[in-house]
Amino acid sequence: MASPVITERAPEKTPRRDHRSRGLRRGEGVAGWLFVSPVVVILGVFLFLPVLMALWVSVSDWGGRGSPLSPNVNFVGLDNYGELTSGQGLRSRDFGTALRNNAWYVFLVVPLQTALSLFLAVLVSRRMMKARGFFRTAFYFPSVTSSVAITVLWIFLFSAAGPVNALIAAVTGGKGPNWFNDPRGIVHLLFGVFGVDAAPAAISQPGFLGLSGWDWIAGPSVAMSAFIIMAVFTTSGTFMLLFIAALQNVGYELTEAGMMDGASAWQRFWRITLPQLRPTLFTVITLGLIGCWQVFDQIYTGTKGQPGKTTITPAYLSYTSAFSNQDWGIGAAIAFILFLIIIAFTLLQRWLLRERPVSKRRIRAYTPKGARS
């Protein structure tokens, strides 16, 4: 759609508006709008209006009965947001707990799934490998299975006397944890190994969002860790597919040139292949971040926030606030805060992955000795 307009405009030195409304091209604008109108209407009704509506609900006292636009629904300003972020009371603490849980989840899942999917993609893209088709399908399989089905499978695998614990017992002789019922944070457990069992006085007082520093660094609970393993398992197949596509676009010439220059396979991967995958890396990390911050169905079908609230996430909290407690404003406010968090994270990683000029240090490293100043 865009290109004809540009070619038409380009030679024209002084484009004037009235030119376009005359002659052969008269009425083109109207026709254009006519053609895009179905999309505009569909997006408007199913996207923009609901978003605006939700925004309104988040600043209103709508209680879930009748239309949110009816006259007896009042504007309450940022009260709902304030209640969530005040650090006082149960709601704020729940929200803090949900953010804590989800932040740990993102922090572990996104790097792990990106690394694993890249690793798998490199494996199945190798020219030497036999039965590539089989492995591609096998690795991709978890991604096409419904997350509800996988959650059920996971609950079976990680039950107290399930296969995973049987394996742990067979290999180590010890007793595995009671996965989905164990609220202990793994960072706390790690500290416990070194004898730090309780909060040091400095971080034992309620802080940001009503949670103490000790609570913030608890790490994902054992139950959440099982979900983290599941997320890595299910999503890496999808992202592997993206990486495979990207790897096929990486020209072999550069790799060959690298070989001629004596670069090892390891160096070729890090210095030649990976930099060319940057756009795909950006896509994968962005999609991973969005998906991880919105984790809901595993929680809903799996643990419902148990044990000890260590698997509640903002998306799940938003759902329960609205549907179970009839606090629709709070639920909408959580959703919008989540939205802002996702935007912030996307911008941050966009900045981190930006194209950077080669640093002076590196240029020096590749300059012949005599040429150095």
Partner: protein
């Protein structure tokens, strides 16, 4: 192009946020009867009347319940000439919310005690209790459960108290006799100790207020005062109860269901992971799956303050937006008659909420008598708006009671309750 793609991505994120928020639900734009219905529906005044058919939404425990309710409603339809349709919801809470938001809720529906306050506050349900012909027949404690803001909202559908369920075989095998049936906390601890062996723990129950609260009741404690206006969680009685539970969780004679690998007390009893459990009468249906287990239902032992237990119930909620409330009221009266409730009891096991059915029910179910005896002294769970969040938080802390400090737990429950009570 680049720019528009970014817009699309933003839009996509926004859409996803909205979906997560709204469950993509409801026709929120609909200014239906909600707006025209005026008042907040809690006047208790006149009921609406029309020729409209009724919709009844139930959260069914299974085919037996769905069939029984359908049959009863069909019989009433035939008598009254009003069409009525029964819908078994897959997710009752969510489907109700969608109905209310869209201004087109079911006329009658199962309503849990913890949801009443939320729906009453936003005017979704109407208080019709005082207009029931058989109002005086319901157990007073159940009426109290469904009284909010001094209005009797809805007719209790059925109820159960928590009692002690014993695996008779394991009991006999441990050399215990009828004389050993626990009557106080010490004899409960003694029996649990004798029953604990190998993979079987003496007493197994869910680690949540909804079970542990029975001990608090036996010690004379509660979370919220009887009139629902004062938070009384941080009391010596509650601390004693938690200390007792903690002591025996620690010595291994009591255990939470989750910690022995069971979903709830009934499963633990069925799989013989526990020799005793604390549950309501719904356990009888579940134990059908475990024919080796011969259950014996006895009253919970008395605590320092005498007998005590918790009771759980649901009611027939009526929508404020229903166009045919008069017919709905008559249907509720039909469904809550002693006769009909006894029929339900036969079909799928609930305990009638009316006193006139008690005698017949006891004759029909002599083994389950303890559940009904509890009605005399049981306390209901608090129903204040927002209390389910407090329960969730309390339960999260109870999960670690074994290593926790009862006083600290109760203090946090108290402060959470104070924010919503009064």
């Amino acid at each position: 192009m680049r720019h528009s793609r970014r817009l699309m991505a933003l839009g996509g994120v926004g859409l996803a946020a909205t979906l997560a928020l709204a469950g993509c639900g409801g026709s929120g734009f609909d200014d239906g009867p909600a707006a025209s219905g005026g008042a907040n529906g809690t006047d208790g005044g006149g009921l609406t009347s029309s020729d409209d058919a009724l919709t009844i939404m139930i959260g069914s425990s299974g085919d037996a319940e769905t069939a029984a309710v359908k049959e009863a409603v069909a019989a009433w339809s035939k008598d009254s000439g009003v069409d009525a349709e029964v819908i078994a919801a897959t997710d009752l809470t969510q489907q109700l919310s969608q109905g209310f938001a869209g201004g087109n809720p079911p006329d009658l529906f199962y309503l849990a005690t913890e949801l009443l306050a939320g729906y009453a506050d936003n005017g979704s349900v109407i208080a019709y209790g005082d207009q029931l012909e058989n109002k005086g027949d319901f157990y007073p404690s159940l009426v109290q459960n469904f009284t909010y803001d001094d209005k009797f909202f809805c007719a209790p559908k059925d109820f159960s108290t928590l009692q002690l369920i014993i695996n008779k075989n394991l009991w006999d095998k441990a050399g215990l006799t009828e004389a050993d049936i626990p009557t106080d906390w010490d004899s409960l601890a003694a029996a649990a100790k004798k029953l604990t062996s190998g993979n079987t723990t003496g007493l197994v129950f869910s680690g949540e207020y909804q079970r542990v609260g029975a001990f608090m009741a036996e010690a004379g404690g509660r979370l919220v005062s009887e009139d629902g206006t004062t938070a009384v969680a941080d009391s010596q009685e509650n601390a004693d109860a938690l200390a007792y539970v903690k002591e025996h969780l620690a010595d291994g004679t009591f255990a939470y269901a989750a910690d022995v690998g069971a979903g709830w007390g009934g499963e633990a009893l069925g799989k013989q992971l526990g020799a005793m459990t604390i549950e309501g009468n719904w356990i009888t249906g579940a134990l059908g799956d475990y024919p080796d287990v011969d259950p014996l239902v006895v009253e919970l032992p008395a605590g320092p303050a005498g007998k005590g237990t918790l009771q759980f119930t649901n009611c027939w909620g009526m929508a404020a937006d229903s166009p045919n409330q008069e017919a709905a009221l008559s249907l509720v009266e039909y469904l809550t008659t002693a006769e009909q409730q006894l029929a339900f009891s036969k079909a799928f096991g609930p305990m009638p909420s009316v006193q006139s059915a008690a005698e017949q029910w006891t004759t029909d179910n002599p083994d389950l008598e303890a559940f009904l005896s509890g009605a005399d002294y049981a306390q209901g769970v608090p129903t204040n708006d927002g209390v389910s969040d407090v329960f969730t938080d309390f339960n999260a802390q109870l999960a670690t009671l074994k290593d926790g400090d009862p006083a600290t737990i109760l203090k946090s429950v108290q402060s959470n309750l104070e924010a919503i009570v009064g």
